[in-house]
């Protein structure tokens, strides 16, 4: 059976199968296993089948659409017209957007079929998917473990072959970390490469929409479809979108990689360390040079990230106020004040982690604290970006693990937010610096859990990091090992 996105597309294009058959197969598989995994908040069965049938009816002989008949799972924080979009929050339980996110409309214009909305941490805040109001996602490699977060549903869906590709969003690692923990490819594009229009904002200056797929080539294709300028997003870059798939030649000779060795000393699980070491060796063996690089401000990345992200979140989430489209708390006394309505609605509608971040962010922006927290964080952000700019003058990409640990047991860290935040140590810098980063499967722990490695490239050099990751994938082919669900 076709597995990768490109295999599926080719099977439809050549007529080996139909869009309807493919769609039905994936839907059946979802029906069979998603009771265990809970990767989807909402499966669009009827709608997807209808669309698949329409594609089969209407397609011309040489339909050029790059995702013809390919089912795609979409994270539940991207607006889908007429389909519930909850961001896994109680407060948006009944919200049905009247419009599509730009990334979603581009998928559909490319011939893709949206299968459903994937589970995630509430408003994309979390690294374990345990912050979903609708329950956590199980990791396909071991459903008692976390798939990572916040795009845990998208990563689990792709790993479990419930969809050949998915869209996620990445604010501090939310595509890459679950991709690593589930053994799939996840790409966070350069800030501005993909339109954020229709993405429920968590931290506007950090959020990016990106692909999760089985292979690097699939990620390149999916990015090619969703990337590009958008008149509805002023922060979307005007730069032309290159053909990402065309640059994948598999040649790693002469590639220069930098490893921030000092940062890795911060504490990495021994199994992750072992796998990462082997990854470095494999790159060297294929002709790449690997050198030590210094990112002197990297140790500040986590506090910097949590100040900026939470500050922006405290403002972005203010619109969920009970007035218009969100759930509104039932007020028993008709004399209840407006303030009571706000308090009750938001207390009941938001989960603990979301409330914690709103409070921290509100504090960081408050009069008298702004300079010490938000402004200072912005200054450090500039330093972190400068570190990367300097390093990337000399190497093609920075190579580092995606997550310091493999998939952890559900419930293990959820009560310790600080420990959870520290899991983002290797991912947040790319968001702060606005740089593209890709996580790709790099091997397995002795216990059989996937481990990911990450490449961070220059701004808009998605072709560069895709080419390197693809070169590695051709040697190792880790993606071919599928979890048994």
């Amino acid at each position: 059976m076709a597995q990768t996105l490109i295999e599926v597309r080719d099977a439809v294009v050549t007529g080996a199968t139909t869009a309807s058959n493919v769609c039905a197969e994936y839907l059946d598989r979802i029906a069979a296993v998603d009771g265990t995994l809970h990767a989807f908040n909402h499966v669009m069965r009827e709608r997807a089948l209808k669309r698949a049938a329409a594609i089969d009816r209407s397609r011309a002989g040489d339909d050029p659409r790059p995702l013809l008949g390919v089912p795609i799972a979409v994270k539940d924080n991207l607006c889908t017209r007429g389909v519930p979009t909850t961001a896994s929050s109680r407060i948006l339980e009944h919200f049905v957007p009247p419009y599509d996110a730009t990334a979603v409309s581009r998928l559909e214009a490319a011939g893709a079929i949206v299968l459903g909305k994937t589970n995630c941490d509430e408003f994309a805040m979390g690294s374990s998917n345990e912050n979903s109001a609708f329950g956590p996602v199980g990791n396909p490699w071991d459903p008692t473990r976390s798939p990572g977060g916040s795009s845990g549903g998208s990563a689990a869906a792709v790993a479990a072959r419930l969809a050949p590709g998915a869209l996620g969003s990445d604010t501090g690692g939310s595509i890459r970390q679950p991709a690593a923990l589930c053994g799939v490819v996840g790409l966070k594009p350069t800030y501005g490469r993909v339109s954020r229009y229709g993405l429920l904002a968590f931290a506007s200056s950090l959020d990016q929409v990106g692909p999760l797929t089985l292979t690097v080539r699939d990620a390149a294709l999916l990015l090619e479809v969703v990337a590009g300028p958008d008149p509805f997003d002023s922060t979307a870059a005007d730069a032309k979108v290159p053909s990402y798939t065309e640059t994948l030649d598999g040649d790693l000779r002469g590639v220069r990689l930098g490893v921030p060795a000092a940062l890795l000393e911060a504490g990495v699980d021994p199994e992750v360390e072992r796998v990462f070491g082997a990854t470095v060796d494999a790159f060297r063996a294929a002709g790449a040079t690997v050198s030590d690089v210094a990112l002197p401000h990297a140790h500040c990345a986590i506090p910097t990230y949590y100040l900026i992200a939470n500050a922006e979140a405290s403002s972005n989430l203010a619109r969920y106020d009970g007035v218009r489209y969100t759930n509104r708390a039932k007020l028993d006394a008709p004399s209840a004040t407006l303030m009571t309505m706000y308090n009750r609605t938001r207390s009941e509608g938001f989960g603990a982690e979301v409330k914690r971040r709103i409070m921290l962010g509100t504090y960081a922006l408050s009069a008298g604290y702004y300079d010490a927290y938000y402004l200072k964080a912005q200054q450090v952000r500039t330093l972190i970006r400068r570190d990367y700019d300097q390093v990337l003058d000399n190497v093609n990409a920075v190579l580092l693990p995606t997550s310091p640990v493999p998939a952890f047991t559900l419930g293990e860290k959820v009560d310790d937010p600080l420990q959870m935040y520290l899991l983002d140590i290797f991912t947040v810098s790319a968001n702060l610096a606005g740089l593209p980063a890709i996580s790709f499967p790099a091997g397995f722990t002795q216990g059989g859990l996937p481990v990911g490695a990450q490449l961070v490239g220059r701004a808009f050099d998605e072709p560069g990091i895709l080419r390197i990751a693809d070169g590695y994938e051709r040697i190792t082919n880790w993606w071919k090992k599928a979890p048994v669900v």
Binding site: N77, L78, C79, T85, A87, L92, F95, P97, P98, Y99, A101, R196, Y197, G198, L199, L200, A201, A203, S204, S205, P231, F232, D233, S234, T235, A311, E312, S314, S315, L317, A318, R319, Y320, D321, V323, R324, Y325, P334, L338, Y342, T362, L365, S366, A367, Y370, Y374
Partner: protein, 481 residues
Amino acid sequence: MEFEPVIGLEIHAQLLTQTKIFCGCSTSFGAPANTQGCPVCLGLPGALPVLNRAAVELGLRAAVALGCRVESTSIFARKNYFYPDLPKGYQISQYELPLATGGHLTLPDSDIDIGITRIHLEEDAGKSVHEGYLDSDRKTYLDFNRSGVPLIEIVTEPDMRSSADAKAFFVALREILVALAVNDGNMEEGSLRCDANVSIRPDGQSALGVKAEVKNLNSFRFLERALDHEIARQHEVLSSGGRVIQETRLWDAGADRTAAMRSKEEAPDYRYFPEPDLPPLRITEAWVDEVRRSVPELPAATRDRLRAKYGLTRDQAEQVTQIRPGLAPYFEELVEASAPARAAINWTLGELTRKLNDEQTDEVGVIRERISPESLSRLIVLVERGTISGTVAKDVFEKMYVEGESAEAIVERDGLAQIDDANALSGTVREVLSQHADAVEQYRSGKRGALGFLVGQVMKATQGKANPKVVDKLLREAIDG
């Protein structure tokens, strides 16, 4: 002890764009509630703002006209607060780096210069409707048509020393904004709103006193009254040994007083921070130059010029430049097209203004599209030449407006030309004399006024067409022999 008031104003002016500041929705006033909205201005999840360049252009016009320095880079910022008619939970405004800074406006007929601290762009909120519905005692309704309408906020230096200064400033500013087509000047519909910062200090003291912000001053009269009241209130507090506290007060027009709204301690913390959804606004010098070239002459300068060039009185110059921006250009075109200035200004302030009042509009274009200045100037010339009388001319003007015909055509068609020919009039003169022998007698016995009556009778008999000068001469000749 004598005290000196110190006043600064904050004025919010809606910009006359077709569409809202961050989306494509219409800005027109008076549409049914909630019919002008989209994901962006309703604050739906995931929607993003995109800046309307037309709003920037209008903001720049105001900035240039007020002599401000336009910042080459300005930044949008979020002003965070919760209110049901604020759909995103924050207003997109500008804070640390506004569109323009450091301008000034000289009050008319004085040398008082009022500094403009800054002009910044922002979006309006929606409207909370507290009355007018059957269940308004229990419910507040929301109308988001206004949400996202572009505004500029103009902040002045505390340079005004009396309520009269403040009023004169607001009047002059309004006139400029209207003349620039930046704002419609409509305070009743809320498209121009004013708040004031007021403090008083002992004469001779240079340090400022503690100020109160007075909100809701949405007419010239309210502004003046509210300031007078607030100055008197602070005076009383200080005179009786008390201390003015920094607070926000609301002008209550019904009660004719200001009332405390909230103290400084209760003031909300807006947690301003740079709007991450919008890149910094870059304005090139070329753009500013282009705007500078397109800014029309301001009303005060127009008045000076009209008086010098056409010999208008101060009153005439003021009337022709006030309220209706199209009036002065129309007047000037009349003169250019050969109407004498004296007649042209009388027509402009007379018939033209009357017609606009009848049509309940300030748009001179309404007249222009039916009667061009060129066409009206020909009518005026007909009067000047004595071809028709002034009375007939008013009827012709009306017919021109309704029918769109030229003055000459109407005069010709309706036979309205004045009768100058003595032969043609002599029969009518004889008839009037014989019918009104008593008046003839009165005239002969020295009542000169009787002649006017006889002239009137001849005019009446000729339906106003007779040239009254000729009639006068014929009557004298007939009676005096």
